[in-house]
């Protein structure tokens, strides 16, 4: 507690009354201008609360009626208005025309990057690298449904097995074990044959038995040598890219229960111009054909 408040002879101010080893401290109050600035900020805040939405109550808009969401909507509208001429050109053009026009292509690549990050990256990865378990890479050189600009445009617009568009990519692999088409040993034999397509079979006898079963059950979609069929979305089985894992256990599981990846139809969700931009962008990730 302050003990002895005294007047300092030199400055004419009072001391705080504290004393430390003979040292005394002047009681220097905050400058008046500082205090008044502080009071002014309080007054400003009160006015602010009245004019702008500040209270955490639904419908509290303040007397000005200003709402942050409306400001954002206005900003977005302004940005869209600025982009509108370019977007209408992108809407009217085909992906091929966009890819051939340097100006449209530069715009599509920049816009496609953003649209890809917003809509596609959650499954296909930030760089289109895909993920094990059914999310195909868009940067490699294998395509389930085709890697030309038209094929990519078709897939993005209508989706895969999402039942959102009549023109969707549609096919169905039978559940060979679950539906009783093949027995467990037969599934094992087919898996060995599939492994032999990439020279990885461990049991030649089983693989030979599996070849017969493969010819009866699988070639219609996957082809005689496992070369796949893009019209049916049947992936290649004789290459190094395995969407659901390359090991035998994964292959057995795929044959037993079947696989069917799903992708939404973006035609009803995105502007045709954005789908065109995405098409060009995806085509440029490294695997475009």
């Amino acid at each position: 507690m302050p003990t002895k408040i005294e007047k300092d002879s030199l400055s004419g101010q009072n001391t705080t009354g504290h004393e430390w080893d003979g040292l005394k401290e002047l009681n220097t109050p905050l400058p008046k201008w500082w205090l008044w600035t502080f009071y002014a900020t309080i007054a400003f805040a009160l006015v602010w609360v009245v004019i702008y939405p500040a209270l955490p109550i639904t419908g509290a808009t303040g007397t000005s009626g200003w709402i942050a969401r409306e400001a954002v909507v206005r900003d977005v509208q302004q940005a869209e208005a600025r982009m509108a001429p370019m977007m209408s050109r992108l809407r009217a053009a085909t992906p091929q025309q966009i890819a051939a026009d340097p100006e449209l292509r530069a715009f599509a690549m920049a816009g496609g990057r953003g649209a890809f990050a917003n809509n596609c990256a959650s499954c296909h990865g930030a760089g289109g690298q895909g993920a094990l378990g059914g999310f195909p890479s868009l940067a490699d050189d294998e395509w389930i449904w085709g890697g030309s600009l038209e094929a990519i445009h078709q897939t993005i617009t209508h989706g895969v097995r999402a039942n959102e568009s009549d023109d969707q990519r549609q096919s169905m692999m039978p559940r060979f074990l679950a539906d009783g088409i093949l027995t467990r040993p037969q599934v094992n034999d087919v898996a060995e044959h599939v492994l032999s397509l990439t020279n990885r079979a461990t049991d030649q006898a089983a693989a030979t038995r599996g070849a017969v079963l493969f010819a009866e059950n699988c070639v219609a979609c996957h082809g005689e040598k496992g070369e796949g069929n893009r019209d049916l979305g049947a992936p290649r089985l004789n290459d190094q890219i395995w969407l659901y894992g390359a090991d035998k256990a994964s292959i057995v599981l795929s044959i037993s229960n079947a696989r069917a990846g799903v992708m939404p139809s973006w035609g009803k969700r995105l502007d045709p111009a954005i789908i065109n931009m995405l098409t060009v962008y995806v085509h440029n990730l490294g695997g475009g054909e």
Partner: protein, 501 residues
């Protein structure tokens, strides 16, 4: 250095029991510097004209850089992020050249200060130059020292206001020209001058014009010596560069003291006319010794020399002198009475100042090292760079045949106006194949890449390793850019990534 006077309030017994506490605030004493003529003043005029001419005229110098490029010799182009200085063009990433120039300037300032004292402060500092110019205008409109003092002390009548308005008007015109020249360094001078007066210039242009005009008027018109005494940090630490061998403006007290009437007997040469005080732009008395307020302009030398000349006495009672010489003279003259013998003995005791001493050698060495490094960096400055950014997502892509592919963004940074295409080659383990997206190969692994003049051109490059390449997780590779004749223009090393083997 000057003796520190012990004031009463610092004495221990004076701290208690005083009726009226003294104020800690000192009011500004207005300074009315008197006109002066002489050698130093002439040099100062010459320096002033040179500095102002350089400042106002340099933006108007032209330098042809070809079509599409600014033709202003010295230009800071903010919009295009370029700094033009005659034949040199600096990109933002090379701004260290500017930093180097500033370091060079600092060391030069240290070296000059240790040799010749406050030459910078007294002659070339913008505060001194502009204040000098403003005082010249003031003297021209309001008259010399006595007339100005009388005007300020006299009635506030029509003549008073007419002179004040004329003076401030002239000051504002100069300040406006100062701010006007500043914006020319950042814009094309003829264009911005026209736009400035037609109101087409941008807000930033008017802002910086007002900023520099306002502060010129404030600092050179109103603040003056207070800038040097209270605001500027340089006087506070420049004492670290000065020593007893530096040339400083000094009063030869061994010769001048004791002061007295010109015709009195047994007195020194100083007649106490206060001419040195009246001309001082910071309002101090040089005879009090070395002071922080002294900017070393040497006008007191001219003032004293003219008085000594009229009295028929030798000049140099106030002079550029080293403190070593001052004490040597004082020691030689100590035992002699005032008169020609004392004068002779004192002057003979002086020696040529020691310009070469550890301090100046150090500053000289630092100056040379920085200058050499700058020169080296400038001569080896690259005008063509290639940067290679490997894709991070994904690090690599496995292809259907089991091969591995990496993608890179290759940027060609071209600081010249040469647009001849360069050939990109990949150097790495055998089997790696390179493809540049959207560029057609001419021959095996040879891609002609167009480049923008004075800009950056970007390419996407794919490098593929065959299925059985047996590469490590990280393989060093190098991208080489060859010019038309097949010589190496520049190269950049990078890495080819793959799965763990």
């Amino acid at each position: 250095m000057g003796e520190i006077k012990t004031t009463d309030r610092l004495k221990p017994e004076a701290t208690v029991a005083e009726a009226a506490p003294p104020s800690l605030y000192a009011d500004r004493q207005r300074v009315y510097p008197k006109a002066v003529f002489g050698k130093v003043r002439s040099v100062k005029w010459a320096v002033l004209i040179l500095c102002l001419a350089a400042y106002y005229l340099v933006p108007w110098l032209r330098w042809d850089r070809g079509p599409g490029m600014p033709d202003q010799a010295v230009l800071v182009d903010m919009t295009n992020a370029r700094l033009f200085f005659f034949w040199i063009e600096i990109w933002p990433q090379e701004i260290y050249f500017l930093a180097g120039a500033l370091i060079l300037g600092a060391f030069a300032l240290f070296a000059v200060s240790s040799l010749f004292g406050r030459l910078w402060c007294g002659f070339t500092c913008p505060q001194t130059v502009w204040t000098d110019l403003f005082m010249f205008v003031e003297r021209w409109i309001e008259g010399d020292r006595n007339a100005r003092m009388k005007l300020d002390a006299g009635p506030r009548n029509g003549a008073y206001w007419a002179r004040k308005i004329a003076k401030h008007g002239a000051w504002l015109l100069i300040a406006g020209a100062t701010g006007g020249a500043w914006i020319m360094y950042f814009n094309d001078a003829p264009t911005i001058t026209r736009q400035f007066f037609t109101g087409e210039a941008g807000v930033m242009v008017y802002f910086f014009f007002a900023l520099f005009a306002g502060f010129t008027y404030l600092l050179a018109g109103w603040a003056r010596e207070q800038v040097c005494v209270y605001m500027c940090p340089w006087p506070r630490f420049q004492a670290a560069m000065l020593d007893e061998n530096s040339l400083v403006v000094t009063y030869r007290d061994w010769r001048g003291e004791p002061r007295g009437k010109a015709k009195a007997d047994g007195v020194g040469d100083c007649v106490d006319c206060a001419a040195c005080v009246h001309v001082c732009p910071t309002g101090i008395d040089i005879r009090d010794g070395q002071q922080l307020e002294c900017i070393g302009c040497g006008l007191c030398i001219d003032a004293c020399d003219s008085v000594m000349g009229k009295l028929g006495r030798p000049k140099g009672l106030v002079a550029f002198e080293t403190l070593n010489n001052l004490s040597a003279s004082a020691a030689a003259a100590a035992s002699l009475p005032p008169g020609p013998q004392r004068q002779q003995a004192g002057m003979e005791a002086r020696r040529v100042p020691r310009f070469i001493r550890p301090r100046t050698i150090m500053y000289g060495a630092a100056l040379s090292v920085v200058a050499l490094v700058m020169l080296g960096a400038f001569l080896m400055r690259s005008t063509l760079d290639v940067t290679v950014l490997p894709d991070r997502a994904p690090l690599f892509v496995r292809l259907a045949d089991g091969g591995i592919r990496n993608a890179y963004t290759v940027k060609i940074v071209n600081k010249t106006h040469d647009e001849a295409p360069l050939s990109l080659r990949l150097e790495g383990p055998a089997g790696l194949r390179m493809v540049v997206q959207d560029v057609e190969a001419q021959g095996e692994g040879h891609y002609p890449l167009a480049r923008r003049a004075d800009g950056i051109t970007q390419y996407r490059v794919f490098v593929t390793a065959p299925p059985m390449a047996q590469l490590a997780e990280t393989t060093p590779i190098t991208f080489r850019l060859l010019d038309g004749a097949g010589n190496l223009a520049t190269s950049q090393s990078s890495a080819f990534l793959g799965p763990k083997p």
